[in-house]
Symmetry: none
Subunit: 198 residues, 4 copies
DNA sequence: AATGAATGAGTCTTCATTCAT
DNA sequence: AATGAATGAAGACTCATTCAT
């Protein structure tokens, strides 16, 4: 039974607290008190609040990135990869709300700018999507003029769908699972060649 | 040229500051200092920080709501209305970033719950979209099973597109205007009947 | 139907508010808001918060003083006067809690020292008590060595009884009216000559 | 010579400041500045101003309670106990003005209600007085109809005497010590059987 | 590896008072 | 006689951080 290290406990609690209200919603005291240690102890693992939050962001990016890469690994056809990648992204957002939102906190003026070079890793998943699209175009299964643009549009749409769910903006009459499924389908179909059956 | 009233100046500055980090990112002091008055003076116009933010939200909702309604007023065909509504929404988000984001701050646990009855107005624009879709289905120009679901998907997609832009996540190689245009087109096409020319 | 003047309304409200928590418990704003005028308006009648409170004290002292003097006016025997004075004092305290307590606020460091010369009027009632005692000693009905001392003791005892009641420290099993009555009787008897019947 | 702990210093200073004007007269800032620490430091020992004041009240009640109990411990006759208890109460009030007054601050609307169960301890001393009176009645040395009522009257009278002194209302021509002594005697005599020598 | 004590700066808010109208 | 706008000082309290142990 591997005990969570203090460092990881701190990250866990912080991530949870962060969800509510961004950078300002967490305080070293609150984290410490929830973890069950003194506030001072946090400084043994993170040199500042900013460092702590940066770590959080870094790990979330890393995890999302990995999830995206793995999703396509054992897929062969382009369409399958396309499907898998989109599903993986949506899945990550829905099942890891805190981690997903943390990635989108980077912007905040509150904390010192998140180092750009670290942020580049987010683009890895993005590049993957782009290359799948290119592949699809080559294969003749996807109908896209500008693959990079398409990748951005897809990403934006997925982000919108996840946001709506995470922010609990969905009408109660709509079933979450169906909404996700249909949204994904809608996004995907928008970029496939329309095979019209005469 | 009528001077902006102090009340309006306060709202303006607050809206700007709010962009950064939600409810906690603004402070009465910061607002006051930027406006150029004492912190106390704010209380002559707003009874509390919460009241101030609620006012901000209320005004933003009102404005978006109006923009959406007006957008379809002088349109005749369903398709035109559909186009117009989507364009109006995207436009509002892009040209009024602070107001757009303020509307999406409602959720925050930080401030006392935003009164539900006021929030209902947001849904007005939404209902408008839904009814246009129903109209389109009747007219045979839109291919939609569940109009409410479709409306939500459209809304989510638009929100995603706007978010990506407002959060400056767009690659510098992509031109903003084209991105908006193509995204809108993509969203719209996804719900129209595919008139296939054989 | 003589309308209360604004000045008097202010005094009335202030006196009520003062009851709770001394000098700091009232604020010009609260008074103004309860009276239904702007805070500024108070300054048309009182030059400062201190002046307002001083006025309150002055009027309360005046009123108590008058009540004590009148109580003995139509009494003939010394014993009757003694009884009347004690009853009047207790009565004033019980029926005018705010006024009674205001008199005892003088001490407070919070406001500028209440001018001593004005405070002297309190002593008028006191002197009256003392002279009645002297009279009683002369008449042979009161058994007192040092009249001034006796007057102080009587006064202190009455103050204690009133305080206990005003501060709601009385056990609920004790009836207020009986407590007052018996206390008064106890105080009085303590200073009368014991006429022992053999 | 053990240095006073910061906690105790804070309590000491607070008690002194409290004398002036009740709950509102003390401020965390004032206390801190007099103690010579930052205002923040107070919060290391007391979680709030209310908690601080409650502690003050609790300790004062405790101390008075103990003093009263001890006063009668090595006394044998009822009269002795009666004397001792009254003397102890008066003594406590005169020698610990701040502590005495703190006990009587409980009422204040300003702070959150002082927990009733803690306040019950005040009544312990009171019950002691009542039982001594009952004993005296049994022994035939005290002339009292209703012991509880008598206890309240005695308590009220003592409180009056102490208040007069603490509020510096005593005429300068009257010697404090004699006033206390004579008041006590007056109170005591009022409840003893009058042993008349024919 | 961990903590209690300490603090300066900042949080929202209330206060008495002034001034122009 | 009355007020709205304005403000500096002060209120309780929280924060991130440091330091000695």
């Amino acid at each position: 039974m591997p005990e969570l290290s203090l460092r990881d406990k701190i990250l866990d609690i912080s991530r949870g607290l962060l969800l509510n209200n961004g950078y300002y919603s967490i305080s070293m005291r609150k984290i410490a008190s929830q973890v069950g240690v003194s506030a001072t102890s946090i400084y043994l693992h993170f040199e500042s609040k900013e460092h702590l939050v940066h770590t959080l962001i870094e790990e979330a990016i890393e995890e999302l990135s990995t999830a995206l890469e793995q999703s396509t690994e054992n897929k062969t056809s382009t369409i399958e990869k396309f499907h898998a990648l989109i599903e993986a992204y949506m899945d990550f957002g829905i099942t890891n709300p805190e981690k997903y939102e943390v990635i989108y906190m980077v912007k905040s003026d509150a904390m010192g700018r998140y180092p750009k070079e670290k942020f580049r890793k987010v683009r890895k998943g993005f590049t993957l999507l782009e290359s799948i699209i290119r592949e699809g175009v080559n294969d003749g299964v996807m109908d896209v003029e500008n693959p990079m643009m398409a990748a951005y549009i897809i990403w934006a749409q997925m982000h919108g769908v996840i946001s709506v769910i995470l922010n609990q903006r969905l009408d109660s009459r709509i079933e979450k699972a169906r909404f996700i499924e249909e949204s994904a389908e809608q996004i995907i179909q928008g970029f496939l060649v329309r095979t019209t059956i005469i």
